[in-house]
Amino acid sequence: MKHLNIEQKRPRIAVFDFTGCEGCELQLANKEETLGAFLDAIEVINYREVSSEKGDNYDVALIDGAITRPDEIERLKAIREKAKVLVAMGSCACFGGVTKLKNAYNLDEANREVYGDCPKETIPTMAVGDVVTVDLKLPGCPVSKDEVERVVQHLVWDLPLPTYAYPVCLQCKQRYTVCRFDMGELCLGPITRAGCNAPCPAGGLGCWGCRGPAENPNYEEFFALAKEKGFSEQEVKDRLAFFGGFEDVL
């Protein structure tokens, strides 16, 4: 397709799910107002939630979920070999996500708790980047469809990818949201990377840090202010551990 006299590239995209709720994949099929245009702009090679196509001649692989089983390592490595661009999509793929919480427990115990008498083969949860080289990370639980669209636009027209160095607070304030700390709640907004447009605080829930840390966050001051506002160290640590993005500071 030619547009503005430019031959428009049509990236060949495949979506693969690993351990997670598959919600990020579902998110790709959301935002109906632009879904048609989104699917027009790409060639779907492999994406089980929207198509029965099962090809392997893709250029871009979007990876949903964390790595928690040995067979997933092999499968991911095979995808990496085929993909020119590999995108870790969502907090599980980027950080390990919620499933990473099991790493704090004895694995056999965790296995028994979940699967009872039918244990499954399991390994400590890893982020996609712990196993293969990741070209692009799109953290968030779920991934922001807007950001995926920006990635597609980048691939099609070489439009610059938006980056967010600053924390959630800025976008939160731009929505006229009442600070969750004023409501007596804990919020990771001051240290979490923006880009989500702060839907949780706007909806009445303090930030849980699903996008991981902003660039060079001021942890020291954040811990001090959380303490001063009456939140226990454990409470703050539990919150930071939830999506796995703040491992460096735990």
Partner: protein
């Protein structure tokens, strides 16, 4: 200045007349904080009752109605080999009721930049000219230092400015449209008794300021203290979150980016307010960051407020509302930072 006396019923009628054909933005109670304090915001109201002119403060200024956090400067339609640019900045007239003197002074500062500056902004001018402003006086909060700045009294930049005399309002009229509107309701001339009552209320307000900052020689002091440890002391606390600039009634720094629709048929040039405290505020092409440290960024915020703006416009940019001090989770407040500079507290 022309002064009139407006009865409380007359004010109610005035609001109802505006509401018949225009949107009104006014302080509205939207909730209660954990500590029991009410939360007010400048929001559209649909009835007189929804307004709460007895509000103490709003966490956010009314800036967004003049400088939206995000606005399209223009849009593009791509068609075949060509494209068309569309610019639209006309807006429906509306009224903002309940601005304090310092918030109106904030607008007159923005006027200097966006209406009377070297590069006037049609987007700002359109909003400003089409906004009818009714201000109201009240006794200051403990942490407000607008008196020190000289922003506690307002003499222009509004249509009507009211002082509550108990059973009536003492109204300063600063525009013909304000005068005309006032004449449609129960209004009368000012008597000596009214003037006396007004002066007493003003005296009470003037004597109510508890927080004072020393502004004499501050621009020079800022130059002398460029390498002061005070910047590190406060900069170390800064979360670089930009909340201060977002709630500030005068912070106007912004970034511009371009977006394309998913079908690649439309584009938009988007302006978004930014903050000098954000880590990448001074990051340029190639990756160099001119202000990589928190303390440098914080320092330059104060330089713009109390030195740079003064160079250009002969007054500080700050109006002393202390919204930034209140919103800051790290507890950085202008009064404390400036006091430390004077007293060399490090």
């Amino acid at each position: 200045m022309l002064f009139k006396i407006l009865s409380k019923d007359g004010f109610r009628s005035l609001v109802e007349i505006i509401l018949q054909s225009n949107e009104i933005i006014a302080p509205k109670k939207i909730g209660t904080k954990a500590d029991g304090d009410p939360i007010h915001q400048f929001l559209p109201v649909t009835s007189f009752e929804e307004m709460d002119l007895d509000y103490r403060t709003t966490e956010y200024s009314a800036k967004t109605y003049f400088l939206p956090y995000r606005e399209n400067l223009c849009t593009f339609d791509f068609e075949a080999d060509d494209w068309e640019q569309k610019i639209a900045y006309r807006m429906q007239p509306r009224a903002i009721i309940g601005l304090r003197a310092f918030d109106i002074n904030a607008l007159t500062k923005l006027d200097k930049v966006f209406s009377k500056g070297r590069f006037p902004s049609p987007y700002y001018i359109s909003r400003r000219k089409n906004t009818f402003i009714v201000g109201i006086d009240r006794e200051p909060l403990e942490d407000e230092f607008c008196q020190s700045i000289g922003a506690d009294i307002v003499t222009h930049g509004f249509d009507l400015f009211m002082t509550d005399l108990g059973d009536r309002y003492f109204v300063a009229v600063d525009s013909d449209r304000g005068f005309n509107l006032l004449n449609r309701v129960d209004v009368r001339e000012v008597t000596d008794e009214d003037t006396q009552a007004y002066k007493e209320v003003r005296k009470r307000i003037q004597n109510g300021f508890k927080t004072k900052i020393n502004l004499s020689n501050l621009p020079n002091l800022l130059d002398l203290e460029f390498t002061s440890e005070v910047w590190k002391k406060w900069g170390d606390k800064c979360l670089s979150c930009g909340s201060c600039a977002m709630v500030c009634p005068t912070c106007y720094c912004y970034g511009v980016s371009e977006e394309v629709s998913m079908d690649f048929k439309e584009g938009a040039r988007v302006k978004q307010l930014y903050s000098c405290n954000l880590l990448d505020f001074a990051r340029v092409a190639g990756g160099h960051n001119f202000r990589p440290d928190q303390e440098t960024r914080l320092k330059y915020r104060y330089y713009h407020q109390h030195r740079g703006f003064l160079e250009d416009y002969d007054e500080p940019k700050c109006v002393g509302c202390n919204r930034c001090g209140r919103v800051c989770l790290a507890g950085i407040s202008p009064a404390a930072v400036i006091r430390d500079l004077y007293e060399e507290n490090v």
